[in-house]
Subunit: 118 residues, 2 copies
């Protein structure tokens, strides 16, 4: 558990699987969606923590929240609060240790198949 | 379309997406399942066409048929009939052209996370 999670108020605690709890099927399921692939690509390109609201996704706020939750619960992203913003980062290191080359291959495939996302 | 498909009786024709119709999300969804990952690993290890019944999956026949259909419709495997047996092979070449390294990374991850499947 990260320090930001420990410091969060109880109602704002965000559950994350530990590295050893991350399952390949769950990661593949989390990535098997157009919107979630876009989120993952933008996080990979951004090289920094990004607030949910900065993605400009073509879905409602509740649907967007759902997609980020699927990614977090599968172990693909880590989320924490900064003020009222929910910030996101890819768990690239955890995924690379568990499934070497997988995230890179997915990102490359996604960029090839959807190169221009405005 | 393969020659075996063209020769099949109409009721036994099996639909496959052309290479350019294969979508990353559909492939990831097809792979996001324990039983389907096992099928894909066994096909990769077998290096030959394998009949559905040879896999010895821990599911009912209808569930097994469903899993093979999901893999076929996503473009992960190609199926054809030999007599009454439905034979399966991985579309490794198509997937490698479309999504370089993806199938290899998934197979490696699956073997690491579930090394012993009796």
């Amino acid at each position: 558990m990260s320090s930001s999670e420990q410091a969060a108020a109880p109602g704002r605690k965000l559950a994350h699987p530990a590295r050893e709890e991350i399952r390949l099927e769950a990661v593949l399921h989390a990535l098997a969606d157009r919107v979630r692939l876009r989120i993952v690509c933008e996080l990979a390109d951004g090289h920094t923590d990004m607030a949910c609201m900065t993605f400009g996704l073509p879905v409602s706020k509740s649907t967007s929240t759902h997609h980020f939750r699927v990614l977090r619960e599968a172990g693909v992203i880590r989320q924490h609060y900064e003020g009222t913003s929910r910030m996101n980062r890819l768990r690239s290191d955890d995924l690379e240790v568990l499934f070497p080359g997988l995230l890179r291959a997915v990102l490359r495939a996604q960029r090839q198949s959807a190169p221009a996302t405005p």
